[in-house]
Assembly symmetry: C2
Homo-oligomer: 336 residues x 2
């Protein structure tokens, strides 16, 4: 059983998950690119290679049963989950250490039936499907009171941590709130207490006035290079009007505006950075905090321009060689 362990000094939980690999992971053995000709478990026709689907979108015109090939998007449990879906949390201490069982669903959202297609090759309706799937799965998992946060993220490319080439996102339901999220929540709460305003709304107002770091905007969303970008070409996409959770975001337009914005940003980054590996993550309110006036959901996109990393990982200290204002100009000018 995987474990969640808390650092005794810093308020940070870590998943210790030995069951994903059979033995300790060494450098050369880790996630190699699949050999040409290997069978992809995420391709249509190979549905039996994954655990049974928990959600799928199939064309309305076709009637086909679950786990049959006629899908445009499919969600399945991760065959090598970081956490286990069943069991009690069994929170307890061992001396000064705190831990609990690593309980939580870990699902794979297969974004396209086409093996070689990436998000940048997909149209806006496909992105809408993606957000609809994120919402459906989140709403379903929210019913389980063991979980405090649903983490939705994407690793594109093996350098960004993807172990399967077929385009997919992931979702992990967690019994704790990840450190970065709780820091953001605390930070924005402090700001709100002092000013009675949402810090993200204030950022949008200032960026809209300064116009130095806006990469793209449509009616409902704005994409910016954050003022204190940690990484070259880091990009955030935020709803222009305060919204605490992506679940209820402009639901009337079925995620059209966010689908448009994310699609444009990924295409721009692909063009400027030559198809970089990247990660994105949806930062949204935890389950128990719906209706927060201070937290403002957004998507953070981080191209993985490796070699840059240095020691940032271990120290929390970032040196970014590309000012966000410069990154903005490059991305603004990229015609997609």
């Amino acid at each position: 059983m995987p474990e969640l362990r808390k650092d005794p000094i810093i308020d940070r939980w870590v998943i210790i998950s030995s069951e994903r690999g059979q033995r300790p992971v060494f450098l050369a053995e880790a996630a190699e690119a699949p050999k040409p000709g290997a069978i992809c478990p995420l391709c249509p026709g190979n549905e039996a290679m994954t655990p049974p689907e928990v959600f799928a979108i199939r064309p309305a015109s076709v009637s086909s049963p679950p786990n049959s090939p006629n899908w445009v998007l499919r969600v399945v449990p991760n065959k090598f989950p970081a956490l286990r879906i069943e069991g009690d949390l069994n929170k307890h201490g061992v001396g000064l250490y705190d831990k609990m069982n690593g309980v939580g669903p870990h699902e794979v959202i297969v974004e396209t039936p086409i093996h070689s297609q990436t998000l940048t090759g997909m149209d806006v309706p496909s992105f809408q499907n993606l957000f609809l799937a994120y919402r459906e799965r989140t709403l379903d998992l929210l019913r389980d009171k063991r979980f405090k946060f649903i983490m939705i993220f994407k690793n594109q490319g093996s350098m960004a941590g993807a172990s399967l080439a077929h385009s997919h996102s992931q979702l992990i339901a967690l019994p704790i709130i990840p450190k970065r999220l709780s820091e953001e929540i605390n930070g924005s709460l402090n700001y709100y207490r002092y000013r009675d305003r949402c810090v993200f709304c204030d950022i949008i107002a200032q960026e809209s006035e300064e116009k130095e770091r806006i990469i793209y905007e449509n009616e409902h969303f704005i994409a910016i290079s954050p003022f204190a970008s940690r990484f070259p070409f880091e990009t955030w996409i935020l709803p222009k009007v305060h919204e605490e959770s992506f679940l209820y975001s402009k639901a009337h337009d079925n995620y059209f505006a966010i689908a448009d914005a994310l699609s444009v940003i990924l295409k721009k980054q692909e063009k400027v950075l030559n198809s970089p590996p990247y990660n994105y993550m949806i930062h949204t309110t935890p389950i128990e905090m719906i209706d927060s006036p201070y937290y403002h959901w957004h998507i953070e996109i981080i191209p993985r321009l490796t070699k840059m990393a240095g020691f940032e990982w271990g120290t929390g200290f970032y040196i970014n060689p590309t000012p966000p204002e410069e990154a903005t100009i490059y991305l603004q000018e990229a015609d997609v």
Copy 2:
């Protein structure tokens, strides 16, 4: 002039340093391995290729002037510094954003005159020299009241961020305390307020009793796999008796015990992990906190077993596939 910018939501400063490269850093262009036959600016005989040395250790038997070849260790200002050494901090706000000039020395500690030698090929006295150099440079820089923290770290291998092959560590004097350090300081202070004990001392006591995560120890230092390790084979080396700063650590033995412990751990990691790229960083009290009963200096060593990274970078959430107890056994058994 590089800038230090603060994230408006989270208490985290970032160095925006556009002058290191001439233009935005793109994936393929970043820090490539030097071509064979290229002249190494850190090798003896090429002293003129670096800025003049600020410290060096030369054999007592030889009399040779600064910036001449007869050295066993040499410290020079970084030719492409992340920060600039001169100027005022000029702290100011722009709307809701905070920034200051990126002022601070950035130095390179050349650990050996032999181009192809790495730390694992060096003897304990060479490690002692390394710590003596760290101390000398820190004490010198401490005189400048603009700086709050001296960050000492090493990137070994290009995957770990090293841009020169010749073995070296780095030192950056910062006008702010890096986020991870302030989190540790706050965390250990909270623990101390509650229990009137140092959390690191308590960890050492518990580890010594449980004996599940001790990799190595000598008279003065203990090396452990931390309970909530973020990374496979992450290792911490701590003084067994409470010490707040590495500056005054067992100075009577001229860093013999820490030199021994660090040397052993790096050799064990090299053997088990097949010469991995790695980072280490000295976590020590900030300048203004000397004599702290709650903070306990230590070294954190992180082998960079890439592909593992996933999205941890951006989210602060870590999935570690190698339980620290397993890593401990592998490292214990490695004969060095």
